[in-house]
Symmetry: C2
Subunit: 357 residues, 2 copies
Amino acid sequence: MKKYLYIIAFFLIPIAAAAQRPVPPHSPEVHADDRVTFRYFHPDAKRVILDGEFLSSSQLMAKDATGLWSITVGPVKPDIYPYSFLVDSVQVADPNNTYLFANERFKRSIVDIPGSVPLVHSLRDVPHGKIDYRYYKSATLDTLRRALVYTPPGYDASGKTAYPVLYLIHGGSDTEETWTKVGRAHLIADNLIADGKAVPMIIVMPYGNVRPDPMPSFAQDVVNDLIAFVEDHYRVLKDSKNRAVAGFSVGGGQTLNIGLTHTDKFAYVCSYAPYTATEEFRKNFSSWSPDGNQINNRLKLFTISVGTEDFLYESVKQNISMFKEKGLHVKTYIVPGGHTWMNCRLFLATTLQEIFH
Amino acid sequence: MKKYLYIIAFFLIPIAAAAQRPVPPHSPEVHADDRVTFRYFHPDAKRVILDGEFLSSSQLMAKDATGLWSITVGPVKPDIYPYSFLVDSVQVADPNNTYLFANERFKRSIVDIPGSVPLVHSLRDVPHGKIDYRYYKSATLDTLRRALVYTPPGYDASGKTAYPVLYLIHGGSDTEETWTKVGRAHLIADNLIADGKAVPMIIVMPYGNVRPDPMPSFAQDVVNDLIAFVEDHYRVLKDSKNRAVAGFSVGGGQTLNIGLTHTDKFAYVCSYAPYTATEEFRKNFSSWSPDGNQINNRLKLFTISVGTEDFLYESVKQNISMFKEKGLHVKTYIVPGGHTWMNCRLFLATTLQEIFH
């Protein structure tokens, strides 16, 4: 059967043994009024439920006589949302949606509701940078590792212009692709650069999950291996005032660990909903006695962002207090919403407008 | 629950409401002797079946007392294979495997069995090129389209060296990422270039599915828009002797349509298991009366490859006969195996060693 999948799926015409296979349903179908129809074909399922981050609660889908389950929801606030189907007791990505949430531990789809007004992450007809998929050698981890590198429109590897660099770290169980596939970091940068709101910069997105090694080796990998690789292969500015680190969730904790212990290397430290219940964080900060003035002088910007419905909200507030008690100038963005990539994109859009000016 | 997925999946420690969530199983686990263990956690499933292209038939997995389903298979011939689980009646990708088959219509995982001897697609410690993710404007289709562009090790956008270009097209319902995510085209090129078996080249991988428009508009997009974009943005050689087109399945049919009707532009046409039951193919070739000598003189290489177990084998043989009857020199590779990406990788490896010499 699988040998026929290509043809059947593409041409929608009956061939050989797959003659009974139905036309693949269109899912998700985003309507002009921001309602969305989801469809899933399964004649034998007893129950199909839609679970999506645009819903306040999961929704039962309805089956028609052909075995096609569907539901129309909304209007939904324009944004990009993760969702999945629960088919009887099995969680699945939408088989007819190309766009998946890049993650090591769950398989969900993402739906893009563009709305009528371009959003900060929309694909617009502006000059576009590109994303390089690269391997770099990590002496720290004794392996080849992957990283994605966004270069802005007009970037010329052999030109005279050198660029500042943002190191941008994904959440735990995400991958090096999550900041582009889900976060649309490249489009956010393209748009803000086109609008004159962000300076052209390079954005480096490494793979942050170091297993089975403990977390600190990732910090060493970034500081010792990744930065050197980037400086060897891209035209970049090499002083701390032209280097930033940011990240979400586990990556937000890594951002604090990497940035605040290397203020000689990073003048911008921007942490989104940081997860900090780690041995590395305790080691770095529980009995930390920093020279607050020195750090404040070195850092041009230190921000912590979090949503009030984030399950880490209380923890993040405690960390903000801790850093303030130690005398650090920390700028905070407390916004509505949870531990979501909808908020992540907004946090990044804010950061891109604040750094390297 | 979903808000906790990140943390739980990464730290494997009980937090809040997710305390009962088990440690994510390791799947797939590839053993040193090329056996592979697959695991899937689902206490409530009545039956879990492993379906993989390394199996002659689907295999029932066994459940332990904790609700973890597993099976060990093999030894399996080292290669990269698609697989999925059938959980009761629902087909799912392996939730604990990061690597997915890039496709619009099915969600399957891929397992990499490296073996003890490096394969043509293995990640080796050789100089690596990079893959650019780019947007280009298609006047033909009046939209921004995505394409991936592999540049070889040492590529310098502003240097003196210009490179030949291979346009490489995926199968029907695949995406512009399938040739790298599943086909490992970039690693095959890195390895063959490092071994002196292929010349450094640029490989352009467009998105071949043009919907709802008929197929011919993709050919126009490639010839009119994509080539111009590549020539504007990369240091490339612009004569037909430095331009090749290749593709698999639906993309193999597109390869014939694009290449053989534009021998002024492509001196290399390499088609893998082409699907040709299309209106475009009929229009181009059913009453075609080519000047065989002229085409043979223009083409430095015209190949058609197919496996003897491919469901398109008979159709491909008929097309080979048809092209021979029309006087064309066509080199054929008839190999064991089916309509698979295992064969695709080998077809590409052969092509890369044959073009641009």
